[in-house]
Amino acid sequence: MEQTKEQFKFLSQHKLQTRLSGEFGDKIAKIVMQTVAIAILATLILMVILLVQMSSEAINEFGSDFLTNSTWDPISEEFGVLSFLYGTLITSILALLIAAPISVMVAIFITEILPLKLGQVLGLFVEMIAAIPSIVFGLWGLFFLAPLVRESITPFLKSTLGFLPFFQGPSFGIGILTASIILATMILPTITSITREVFKTIPQHQKEAALALGATREEMIKLAVLRPSFSGITGAIVLGFGRALGETMAVAMVIGNSSKITLSLFAPGATMSSVIANEYAEASAGLHLSSLCFVGLLLFAVTLIVNSAARFIVWKFSPLSKSERKEKRS
């Protein structure tokens, strides 16, 4: 008797109820999350639609001539993006030439040479560069770097490389070279930190294998660190390039805002983002505003292509990510 009573209690305690409340909350949670996700997607799509819509006046007016025309004249309402495209590309490429080797070297120094803790400290300092707002760099560029470029860097470059067309002409301090140096400083932490991430994926035993063969540290780094991470580093550099393309304030403050295309790096210029920053608030509605939006749309397209290319490089050509993909599949 006692036995059955206990059994009855046991049974009733563990009677499974039919499905009522359990997954209701889960369903709501999923609906909320999906709504948020779709809203974010919709915002992005809306952004593209509105940009195209605002640019339509300029697109209809100039068509593909917009890309090949270097005149930008708000008074006679003739607009073309070429000089800004040139300014954007030349400053970004120049910045990349300065920043890429230094960034990769710093990344090697942090991960492979310095002791762990010291490396982390240096890494933190580099990250701090990334935290400095663009406007502060601009301010610094305007009042410190520009005079420096005018008074010491320009004379030095003229006396050594002055036979090249890039290093001729007068310098006002503000101009393409100054903008490039600022940009280089700003993308340095980006490239460094991504390159560090790439290095982190290299297994310790591969480095040890190289050292065990009697390689010097330099040879080990070239063999076991740099070679396998080639595509990752390329991706990091392209991402840095993408960041340089879109950088606005610091460049706008030091580039001089001239829509002339000149070979001289000392001359003032303008980039796609700097012209938007400088003219947008003043542009009266109409063709000028529409043209600026068109410039924005093109800038969006260029950065999108460059950033996608970077991801594609990392994803497609990295041997590490390939093996990871295989692992995930199996």
Partner: protein, 284 residues
């Protein structure tokens, strides 16, 4: 190859690496010391408590801009942080379906969009229809800067939680949403907070998206539908002005901004990993 030659090359290699590190740190030192030197001297209590003096007069401060930055960053975070964390949870916990794949791509795209273009978007969406520059449009632009960063960092953080923790929660007979909210998210609050703070720090230094959304003004404003000053825009306006006193104030503003941004940044990192920091100080 000669061993001596190899050793020499190795030494040269390491020296050039250290040189690169030195070059890399030079701008950081130059920028901070320059701002410190120029900014600190024009920094006084008035800077924080007064509005700008009339054009040409010496003195005044940037109280309106500091408050404006706080106002708009707070408003922007209010929009972006909850959405960003929900998005991050969605990607990490339900990251397989079509919607989440598209969200991941959208997040990548948004991270790469130059902030000036976000400014244009906010302008078209919120300035044009209301026919006025407004704090709301500025806050909206900032929220689009914060959003992808928060999504990404939340996803990365929650992905680090091993799967057996989730299963342990489910094995207790808890519905998935409770496991996610009260065990996974709760257990990683400090890391999530760090991601949020890094995003907020980044947004508070942004100038480009505010130039033609919040625009700026010279007085104190609390209405979301009016133009509002912000520290970065104020620094910009003053820096390119011809008045020396304004340029000095610009320095002071930059000093405050850099302290704010780097302070939040370092603080957030400290929260993320207090034990690592303690250990670091114990060992060194």
């Amino acid at each position: 190859m000669n061993y001596k030659w190899r050793k020499l090359r190795n030494k040269f290699f390491i020296i050039s690496l250290s040189l690169a590190a030195a070059i890399c740190l030079t701008p950081l030192i130059l920028v901070t010391s320059f701002i410190l030197q120029k900014g600190a001297s024009s920094l006084d209590l008035n800077f924080f408590t007064q509005l700008p003096a009339p054009v040409g007069d010496v003195g005044g401060g940037m109280m309106h801009a500091i408050l404006g930055t706080i106002y708009m960053v707070a408003l922007g975070s209010l929009i972006a942080v909850p959405l960003g964390i929900i998005g991050g949870i969605y990607l990490s916990e339900f990251g397989k379906g079509g919607i989440s794949k598209s969200l991941r791509i959208a997040t990548d795209v948004m991270t790469g969009i130059p902030s000036i273009i976000i400014g244009i978007f906010a302008y078209i969406l919120l300035v044009v229809p209301f026919k006025t520059f407004s704090a709301l449009s500025g806050a909206f632009a900032l929220s689009l800067i914060i959003l992808p960063v928060v999504i990404r960092s939340s996803e990365e953080i929650l992905k680090l939680v091993p799967n057996h923790i989730r299963e342990a929660g489910l094995a207790l007979g808890l519905p998935r949403w409770k496991v996610i909210l009260f065990i996974i998210v709760r257990g990683n609050l400090s890391a999530l907070f760090t991601g949020v703070m890094l995003a907020v720090a980044r947004a508070s230094g942004e100038t480009a998206p505010l130039l033609f959304t919040a625009f700026g003004n010279m007085y104190l404003s609390s209405s979301p539908m009016e133009p509002m000053a912000s520290l970065p825009v104020q620094i910009y306006t003053y820096a390119i002005s011809p008045f020396e006193d304004w340029q000095r104030q610009s320095w002071a503003g930059a000093f405050v901004l850099i302290m704010l941004v780097i302070g939040v940044n370092l603080g957030a990192r400290a929260i993320l990993n207090p034990s690592a920091i303690k250990e670091f100080f114990k060992r060194s």
